[in-house]
């Protein structure tokens, strides 16, 4: 076997291991879904009435893509926790003492996360349909939106891996994860139109990768997507999303690999 084929094979074994545990710790997936449904209820039925959309349209349809992207972003905290847990339990040491491909522990984790989050996404989209979210775009656009979201979750998983490798405990992984991901998802167009934000936050929210992803998927699903007039990021959400995903991967995957290689505890 070539070393690339070996790396893929090892990565698949690690991915298998990460997927195997999902049905065995069902509370992980259940809490992830419940948390998102809580946000749906909170925004669709509690705050939603007070959030007028410029140009009109259904707030629930506006909201759901935001919920999807938020959930996928939050999933990186789960990744970080899992990584920190493996470090603390000595499992990473075990892997590092095996003659396996060095990349496999990380690639196996991040690819398993894509599969896992794809499942979460299906459940969330079904919940979305229940509360009144609809897809108005073409099948091609729908598929493109799904691909985009899965690529995003892959990129976010690498951020999670890096966070998990940087912290010392599972609790720290959780705290640091929230510190990074919470503002990332809330200072964005996920829940409120960017126009309603104070001028200090507006440019941040406009250029935020979460906003780009949310806008792009809204457009692809044919959901309302108001953005300020003459907003470049608003008008180019799709290419910007791809650029963000590639950019995040280009930065965080090498950082995570470098961190993994230099673990010395």
């Amino acid at each position: 076997m070539t070393s690339f084929a070996e790396a893929v094979s090892d990565g698949r074994v690690v991915a298998w291991r990460n997927l195997k545990r999902i049905p065995r710790i069902p509370e992980l997936a259940i809490f992830a879904i419940l948390q998102s449904i809580m946000f749906v209820v909170l925004f669709a039925f509690v705050f939603g009435g007070a959030i007028p959309l410029p140009g009109g349209g259904s707030y629930k349809e506006y909201l759901m893509p935001g919920i999807y992207i938020q959930t996928l972003a939050f999933a990186s905290i789960t990744t970080a926790i899992g990584m920190a847990d493996d470090m603390n339990k000595g499992l990473i040491d075990r892997f590092r003492s095996l003659p396996m491909a060095r990349s496999a522990v990380l690639s196996g984790r991040t690819s398993a996360d894509v599969v896992y989050n794809a499942g979460i996404l299906v459940v969330l989209m079904l919940s979305g349909l229940v509360v009144g979210w609809r897809v108005h775009g073409t099948v091609g656009d729908f598929v493109l939106a799904i691909v985009l979201m899965l690529m995003f979750t892959f990129a976010m998983a690498w951020i999670g891996v890096l966070l998990g490798l940087l912290v010392k405990t599972v609790e720290n992984a959780q705290q640091l994860g929230f510190l990074v991901i919470f503002p990332l998802t809330f200072v964005s167009s996920a829940f409120v139109p960017v126009e309603t934000l104070p001028s200090v936050l507006k440019p941040i929210a406009e250029w935020n990768p979460v906003s780009a992803l949310v806008s792009a998927t809204r457009d692809l699903f044919g959901n309302p997507n108001p953005y300020p007039p003459d907003s470049w990021p608003g008008e180019h959400a799709l290419p910007l999303s791809f650029a963000w995903i590639i950019g995040l991967l280009a930065v965080f995957a090498p950082l995570a690999v470098r961190r993994y290689r230099s673990i010395e505890r």
């Binding site: 545990r21 065995r24 710790i25 339990k89 499992l91 075990r94 003492s97 003659p99 396996m100 505890r265």
Partner: protein
Amino acid sequence: MATFADVAAIETEGLVKVYRSGGDEVRALDGVDLEVQEGTVLGLLGPNGAGKTTTVRILATLLRADAGRATVAGLDVVRDAQAVRRVIGLSGQYAAVDENLTGRENLWMFGRLYRLSSADARRRADELLGQFALEDAADRVAKTYSGGMRRRLDLAGALVGRPRLLVLDEPTTGLDPRGRLGMWDVIRDQVREGTTLLLTTQYLEEADALADDIAVVDHGRIIARGTSDQLKAQVGGERIEVVVRDPGDLRHAVATLAPNGDGTCDRHTRRVTVAARGGAQELVEVVRRLGEARIEVDDVGLRRPTLDDVFLTLTGHVAENGSAGENDEEDEDEPDEELAA
């Protein structure tokens, strides 16, 4: 030309590892030289923070030394790290198994990562589960295992790749006495099959029970090396101890047993201690002479020095955890944390 058999299983030269945090420096290893021949068992014996785990981690390619070099089966642990990983099996202080996988799945996974085919990995897993008495628990997730079972599974994981060198870092720390004896049995079985073993332990008894050869580590250095008997001999060999019934007989007893003046007595415990150069035969002689002198005794015995005595003689401190100023930097050798986990 060096043949295979000439290559030592482990060879280290002047290993140094310094941990820095803030302005503090802790020399975890301060020049460790080791040589272990194929097919032998070396016990690295020392208190917490002595440098045992650091040595093991360097040999297992998990940690880089700041100075010095180390080879395993002739392979450099830095330059040929991946090749080293193919010939070693490591089982650490923490039972490093995936607790959400079953015992069988864990072993299968390790087999696959040693590049066995799926079928071979399954066969090897079955073999090891049988060998380690884990068949009944094979399809339960490891989370439900007892401490002893987890350690056995962890050890089985280290053996999946049929390693030439097995490295066990405190294999029984945190186990109850029964679990410890169970681990000793499975380790002895491995040794009987000819596996070279490097074992670290803070239990003197454990090194005595399992190792051919013991290296005593303290403050990042090897301070003594030899068989258990050789180390004990350094402390002065065997002694005969007699406890007399009547304290008034003490002087008489010393004069009788050690006319040359090399006996000692302790009034408080009514104990007379003399060197026993002739071993058990001399014990018979002592009993006969005590009888002739009509000295009544409560206890007579031949006492061999324990490794505790060895440690005390070599280091000036008892082999207990945490001599001052060390063992805080790293997570090394901390059974408390281990128990809490």
